[in-house]
């Protein structure tokens, strides 16, 4: 009886794939050349893209391809960064800037480095660009005209390492206070900071800023508010 009803239903209702029940699994990232990194993925091995880059921009602009931990990366001349990024975005499909960071290599020449991690969402490929910059002229062109998301990353690199980005629409410090004078991710910066560079709030509402970062360890005890000296306003009453 029930089978009959089912057969009738099969005949009368046309077969239709239910869209809501379809699952789109992310394809697994197959392992790549795992000679020195067992976690290296094939998606990070993009020698063909780097070859295309070299054909487009030539040898001085695009450096030698490097393999780091089984992943391909390339050093790019800093004055061609915008063109290279635009080419990768428009011609090679690397449409997503997944990260942009700075490195203090702490070497004599070309001390700093800006690292761009680009991702192609369609082809599931990743490429890493490195741009080296010397301490004497700490300026790198901003790629915020190509990737809008670069603005905050570049602000962060500027805040932490002091690398200025030419053409950035709003290059301000990201984390540290505006009037902070140092770049804390540089290697020579002491881990616990420069005493007096970051004042703590005053111990009473109208007091002076606390310049000692370890006031409590040096015996200072914030006063209970009922113990505070009278403010100017209270005295005027």
């Amino acid at each position: 009886m029930r089978d009959d009803a089912k057969n009738v239903a099969d005949k009368t209702v046309p077969h239709r794939e239910d869209e809501a029940l379809k699952f789109y699994f992310t394809p697994t990232d197959p392992p790549g050349d795992t000679s020195d990194n067992p976690h290296a993925k094939a998606s990070t091995q993009v020698a063909d893209v780097i070859d295309a880059l070299r054909e487009e921009f030539g040898e001085p602009a695009i450096g030698e391809m490097r393999v780091y931990a089984g992943e391909h990366e390339v050093v790019v001349d800093r004055f061609r960064t915008i063109e290279v990024c635009r080419y990768l975005k428009e011609e090679q499909g690397f449409d997503y800037l997944s990260a942009l960071g700075g490195v203090d290599r702490f070497v004599e020449g070309d001390r700093f480095e800006v690292v761009y991690n680009l991702l192609s969402l369609d082809d599931a490929k990743r490429i890493r660009l490195r741009v080296r910059v010397d301490e004497d002229d700490l300026t790198v062109p901003s790629i915020s005209s190509v990737f809008r998301s670069a603005t905050w990353h570049e602000r962060e690199v500027y805040d932490m390492l002091g690398i200025r980005f030419d053409g950035h629409p709003d290059l301000r410090r990201m984390f540290m206070p505006e009037d902070f004078e140092y770049y804390p991710q540089r290697k020579e910066f002491p881990l616990l900071g420069v005493p007096g560079s970051l004042p703590l709030p005053p111990q009473t509402p109208e007091g002076d800023l606390t310049m000692d970062p370890f006031a409590a360890a040096h015996g200072s005890k914030p006063r209970e508010s009922f113990d505070e000296p009278k403010s100017d306003f209270e005295q005027s009453l």
Partner: protein, 192 residues
């Protein structure tokens, strides 16, 4: 009134402090992950409403207990101190978690190494993060401090010395009013 009806004597201070300690209005200063535990402490399972302090006041002018939960950067310290200055007296402060108490694992240039560098902290809660029970215990400690420390009559703001801390809380007297009830007696089964 018949003395055998059962009564106890007290001071206005004790009543005020009792009321104050059982209606603490916390100012949640959630700065990092400890704030999640602070929310659990205020939520139904750990239920700070049992102690009368479920009403988190997001305006400092209506709060008298600041819960600083999480690591505090030098930049944030100024905002925290500003909020603290806006809270009316009397007010208390709990440093929740290792980071708020000492800087914790953030021994670096950007994080204040303990909020007691700029705030008068009453209770420190260790843990990374502390369990909500630990925050409840800190609240009980604050209540204990309010009942014993602060008095309305001897307001410290008029320059008087703080009175000595009473040895015990107000005693519960027996029906006859003659002797105090021993703690064991409270748990004894009444045969009659």
């Amino acid at each position: 009134m018949d003395a055998n009806q059962g009564f106890f004597t007290t001071r206005v201070d004790a009543v005020m402090n009792w009321a104050r300690s059982n209606s603490l209005m916390p100012m949640p200063m959630g700065l990092a992950c400890c704030a999640i535990e602070m929310m659990a402490f205020a939520g139904p399972k750990y239920d700070s409403a049992r102690y009368g302090s479920e009403a988190m006041r997001f305006s400092p002018r209506q709060a008298d207990l600041m819960l600083v939960a999480g690591w505090c950067s030098y930049k944030m310290a100024h905002a925290v101190r500003r909020v603290w200055d806006q809270m009316p007296d009397p007010k208390w402060c709990i440093a929740i978690g290792a980071c708020a108490s000492t800087g914790g694992m953030h021994r670096c240039y950007g994080v204040v190494q303990g909020i007691d560098n700029f705030l008068p902290v009453d209770v420190y809660v260790p843990g990374c993060p502390p369990r909500p029970e630990a925050i409840s215990h800190a609240l009980l400690d604050i209540q204990e401090k309010i009942r014993n420390d602060y008095t309305l009559a001897n307001d410290y703001s008029i320059g008087e010395d703080a009175p000595p801390v009473p040895a015990n809380r107000p005693k519960v007297l027996t029906g006859s009013g003659q002797q105090s009830i021993s703690p064991e007696a409270l748990y004894q089964q009444d045969d009659a």
